[in-house]
């Protein structure tokens, strides 16, 4: 078994924004958007690193960092409360890069060069936090080591068009010749995940300092051959969250064990902040089908094709259909919610209706506590 933990330092960027205006990201970075009931997007890069035994991680913070600080804490849930190494919450540009599909602002890397200078690891793995997957980083570090490349970029064959992503042009021997903004069906979609030799990274920090306003891959675009940028194809499930539309659509597709179990592989668990909620409670007369339900929910009414986060209450006679309800929402008796995303703490009054359409999801922002 390879020892990634002795070879690799982690770096996660949580400070870029979606270009789209959404109430879901009005007061939180994309990285801490709730996902799949009990998780937040940042859980995935942190867990992928944890499962590879990585013990030192720099997490680049956004301007509106409250929710992410609250969620990540000391990093103990991901075994990052270490005496040696551990979690470093490091500053970054408040909004990351302004370009679509770009996640690794060189200025942030330069600002945090101490993290890379102090390390004795040969490699750095860098990840964004809006593309969700569960992969074995050991294998990728092994492939990187074997190839002798300076950088190995991880990609997946794209199954849809996406502006807010980038794609790799790959030439001989899997070498990347170009990183292009945007991504179409069949392209090599960059998963915002790559391995770089630490010494090479330190050289880039010195050599490209004047281009610090660029994404690292823009800055080095002319030097791919010299640096030797290799690619690695990931064949598992990849879920990119690029705005409300992809968030809703991809979440709905995940209501299927044969799909979501590709993310929640017990051998490489996805860990989130521990909470102590009791099991979900179904009352006599409740009717729940084809849904994902979290702990602490109380179901008296009907739930179909939906994802419910922790502590959601669906009163009797209420109906929740094809919707995503975040933590502590209450659907009062006789109310109906359909094709909607309700952020935390929303209370839907009795006998009222909140309805989007399959084409236009209705999205309600986070409600203040005790909205009743």
């Amino acid at each position: 078994m390879s020892m990634t933990q002795n070879r690799t330092l982690g770096y996660i960027t949580a400070n870029y924004i979606t270009r789209e205006n959404s109430v879901l990201t009005a007061n939180r970075p994309l990285a801490s958007v709730p996902f799949m009931g009990r998780y937040r997007l940042i859980d995935f890069p942190l867990s992928n690193m944890m499962n590879a035994g990585i013990k030192t991680v720099g997490l680049v913070m956004p301007g509106n960092c409250r929710s992410i600080m609250d969620h990540v804490g000391s990093g103990k849930d991901w075994l990052l409360d270490r005496k040696k190494g551990g979690l470093f919450l490091v500053p970054g540009n408040a909004y990351g890069t302004s370009k679509r599909g770009m996640r690794f602002l060189l200025r942030d890397i330069i600002a945090n060069k101490e993290l890379f200078k102090r390390s004795d690891k040969p490699y750095v793995v860098m990840m964004g936090s809006s593309i969700v997957f569960n992969l074995d980083l050991h294998q990728i570090v092994d492939a990187h080591e074997t190839s002798g490349a300076g950088i190995t970029m991880v990609y997946v064959k794209a199954v849809r068009h996406q502006d807010d992503a980038s794609s790799l042009v790959i030439g001989d021997r899997g070498r990347v010749t170009q990183v292009r903004p945007g991504c179409d069906y069949g392209d090599n979609k960059f998963m915002d995940c790559f391995i770089i030799d630490r010494k090479l990274l330190l050289d880039i920090i010195e050599d490209y300092a004047t281009a610090d306003y660029l994404d690292i891959f823009e800055a080095i675009a002319g030097d791919f051959a010299r640096i030797d940028v290799c690619s690695y194809e990931f064949k598992g499930l990849v879920v990119g969250i690029h705005g409300e539309e992809t968030y809703y659509e991809r979440s709905m597709q995940l209501i299927d064990p044969s799909i979501y179990e590709q993310l929640f592989n017990p051998d490489r668990p996805i860990i989130t902040k521990a909470h102590d909620a009791p099991p979900a409670k179904y009352f006599a007369g409740s009717r729940a089908t084809n849904s994902l339900i979290s702990t602490g929910c109380e179901i008296k009414g009907t739930v179909r094709g939906s994802i419910l986060s922790r502590g959601v209450i669906v009163e009797s006679g209420a109906q929740v259909v094809n919707s995503i309800l975040m933590q502590s929402c209450v659907i009062k008796s006789g109310a109906r919610v359909e094709n909607a995303i309700l952020d935390k703490n929303n209370v839907v009054p009795a006998n009222t209706e909140l309805r989007g359409t399959p084409e236009h999801t209705l999205v309600l922002g986070k409600a203040p506590l005790n909205a009743e």
Binding site: M36, P269, I271, P278, P279, Y282, R287, T295
Partner: protein, 381 residues
């Protein structure tokens, strides 16, 4: 070490042999309960919720799961620098070592631990009872009475009183009599096995008991009657609320069923006094397109395709298509395969009921069916 006002000693070494197959490989306090908890969570959460930050957990029988589950105590906020959880299995000295011979002996063998913290009071608890209690109220009562020992009691139905240790107290709560399982009870106040001792009284009583050849070294049988006969100030603290000893299969099943229904007496959802547990992160549970769930608790990681009525489905358990689960408890990882019927049964952790098997009966005059941890029930078994 800083001096503590009160520390807790949690007796968790019992085998729980009356839980049969459920405790064949693990200690009773480690048995799963309520969908995502283990029995010891209730006592540890009571300690945390009562502001007690030093807890010695006395273990003996099959301790591995219990030890790894308790870990650093972090899950209950008991990973303190000065105090926290300490696991206290039997140990050896120059004079040799011995198993814990009884509840009192277990504490006697760990008097050094108590002396290390030099507390004013010692709270003695069982790791196998289900209840919510703020021990601060009991301690306040102990201090107010200037008691040597306070015993927590609760009224039980008169017809059941002969199953318990029964205490008779005067109007001020001072204990006059103690009868272990009396045929003709004088009172219906039953001991809950929760004691607060003033430390010096405890130390003296245990040191005397240790050299008493006739003693069975048990709090109920030996220590309390002796202190009573010697005229010490023993008081009751009356508790009103849900308290259950889930020591038998029947009581385990019945107490589990008590968690169901619209207004259960024991409310797992009370956020002011949360029950904390050390759990692994699993995704939300999935409810299939044809599932029917009626009056049930379902935990994370489960998949339910069939019908679940009046049952508890613990973490990662699976109910297959067309399967029916009624009046039952599926412990973590248990699987009921397609078309199988499980009625009035307890399936142990990772137990499997194969396709089409019919297990258990709704007939309440029959014993609850039990499948041990990791046991597979196929057709014809």
């Amino acid at each position: 070490m800083g001096k503590k006002e009160c520390i807790a000693m949690l007796l968790a070494g019992g085998q729980g042999s009356r839980l049969g197959a459920l405790t064949s490989k693990i200690a009773k306090p480690a048995v799963s309960f309520g969908g995502k908890f283990r029995i010891i969570d209730f006592a540890l959460s009571n300690c945390t919720n009562s502001g007690i930050d030093t807890v010695g957990v006395l273990t003996q029988y099959r301790p591995y799961l219990l030890h790894s589950y308790i870990g650093s105590g972090e899950a209950w906020d008991l990973d303190a620098r000065d105090g926290g959880v300490s696991i206290l299995p039997p140990y050896a000295t120059q004079e040799g070592g011995a198993w814990y011979a009884g509840t009192a002996d277990a504490i006697t063998q760990n008097l050094e631990y108590i002396k290390m913290y030099d507390p004013e009071y010692v709270l003695i608890l069982s790791g196998d009872h289900l209840y919510r209690m703020d021990y601060r109220k009991m301690l306040a009562s102990h201090i107010q009475h200037k008691a040597d020992l306070t015993v927590s009691v609760m009224p039980v139905p008169w017809e059941e009183a002969s199953r318990f240790g029964i205490l008779t107290a005067d109007d001020d709560g001072r204990i006059q009599r103690f009868d272990e399982k009396p045929e003709k009870p004088e009172s219906n106040l039953a001991s809950m096995g929760i004691y607060i001792f003033s430390t010096k009284v405890l130390v003296d009583a245990l040191e005397a008991d240790a050299v008493d050849q006739r003693s069975s070294h048990d709090f109920g049988k030996d220590i309390i009657p002796k202190l009573l006969s010697e005229g010490y100030g023993l008081y009751t603290y009356e508790f009103h609320g849900f308290w259950k000893d889930v020591g038998t299969i029947a009581s385990f099943h019945e107490t589990s069923m008590d968690l169901l229904g619209p207004n259960p007496e024991f409310d797992l959802y009370d956020k002011s006094f949360p029950i904390l547990s050390n759990i692994t992160t699993r995704p939300p549970h999935y409810i299939g397109p044809d599932a029917v769930i009626d009056d049930a608790l379902v935990s994370n990681g489960c998949k339910v395709y069939g019908t679940v009525r009046h049952s508890i489905v613990s973490t990662d358990a699976v109910v297959g298509e067309r399967a029916v689960v009624e009046d039952s408890v599926l412990l973590p990882g248990a699987q009921v395969k397609a078309g199988a019927h499980v009625r009035r049964a307890i399936l142990g952790e990772n137990a499997v009921v194969e396709e089409g098997v019919k297990l258990g009966s709704v007939d309440t005059t029959k014993d609850t069916a039990v499948v041990g941890n990791d046991v597979v029930i196929g057709k014809g078994e």
